[in-house]
Symmetry: C2
Subunit: 246 residues, 2 copies
Amino acid sequence: MNKARQTPCIKCPLKDCAAFRPTDPPELDFIQALKIAELSADAGANILAEGTSTPHLFTVLSGWAFRYKMLEDGRRQILDFVLPGDLIGLQASIMGNMEHSIETLSEMVLCVFPRERLWTLYEKYPSLAFDITWLAARSERSIDENLLSVGRRSAPERVAYVLLSIFNRAKSLGLTNGRKLKCPFTQQHLADALGMSLVHTNKTLNSLVRQRLFRWKNGEVEILDEERMAEVAHYDEPPARPRPLI
Amino acid sequence: MNKARQTPCIKCPLKDCAAFRPTDPPELDFIQALKIAELSADAGANILAEGTSTPHLFTVLSGWAFRYKMLEDGRRQILDFVLPGDLIGLQASIMGNMEHSIETLSEMVLCVFPRERLWTLYEKYPSLAFDITWLAARSERSIDENLLSVGRRSAPERVAYVLLSIFNRAKSLGLTNGRKLKCPFTQQHLADALGMSLVHTNKTLNSLVRQRLFRWKNGEVEILDEERMAEVAHYDEPPARPRPLI
DNA sequence: CGGGATATTGAGTTAGTTCAACACAGGTGG
DNA sequence: CCACCTGTGTTGAACTAACTCAATATCCCG
């Protein structure tokens, strides 16, 4: 990890993304002033560790990561994937310390904000405070989905579901290329996200590939039959919910 | 569901509970003014349904409920349990509609707040807005725990874990009686929370009972050997984190 | 005194796990 | 440029945790 030259918020690559609320100039100025650094992390870097407390709050500018928890004996559960526009470290900022860890899957650039000024944000910019709550609610929603998957879906259903949901998230961020998406994770990551063993994840993946639902070559996933995948996954396309303007 | 006589916020039974931040008189007055009704629901009532949108935000005064999601074919996953002091319907209030349902396990009394005034709260009472975010973060934490359980713990581990964590939550709310706790859920509820079948849940429960870790009679759970239960569950007592005073 | 919901138990089945061997690719150092 | 090494993916075989089915027991409530 090392600090890099900063991108001014006004040029934030996420600002015009459909997933985000247009931000007023005064809010933008405030965020700009709040931002104390830009952090570049390599793939495989530990951004935050369970049990610790960071003085920082992060926003993802680019790159992929995942939130996870581990049991002492090494069993790991990936809670969800972190994509550009996600907020990291809110739990620690609000509750004191982290109860999960975060590791990057690719190179990642983050904006760094000091935790202690979060309160100022709540006082002075209620609209931004509302946005933070919105992000927290969205993230809870995605964990709810994963819990349903891991608890009640069969292996093929889970695999189809996770691929579809990642694909759609990435699509809404403009990261997809037609029906293709560069995915920086391994089958081990998928297994840990789905609560399955590596071997069975592999076999399930290949079985779905043989059914021509998708392909996965050179770290690139290509959805071949979205309809049938949604069927297998019991996936309801989430209504493209525009972020409320308050 | 029917409306009942209202308890003034100043006499809120949760106000002095250790889990809550002492609230200033002006904040209390605002909440009091915000509260438009008190709702009494029977056991087994549907408070909120997936896919719908409510004009209300609720706070639980007393009683138990659970949040859940279902697949079309009826498979149900309980996401977490709802206890007094929890906030209900924030997702709908912030994002437009619910992606999960809520059903009561016992009689329940709720305070009702109009959703449209949430924004006023953010504008006028940043400290309360901060509290809401705190509640959202806490709830996310508990789902993270459940996801770890369902994804990576074995059946006995899951059962021990869920009982311990419910017991400790209830204890911090003053609902326990020594090592005993009245639990209004059935084995089916536990099974659906743990992502297991009813039969296997029953067998696992009984095996732990035979090992004298706990008892469960007449809807009352009694923890007999907390230490060994924590061992089986790989349970780390959550540090009793006082709610920050901002 | 029923009758429906809940809990218990046994038996047979299966989805998913573990173990182990092998294949393949990319990256490094000699 | 090759030889090796490590991380990743693939496959078969044996095993087991958890599931389903089905029958019975128990509890609670009207």
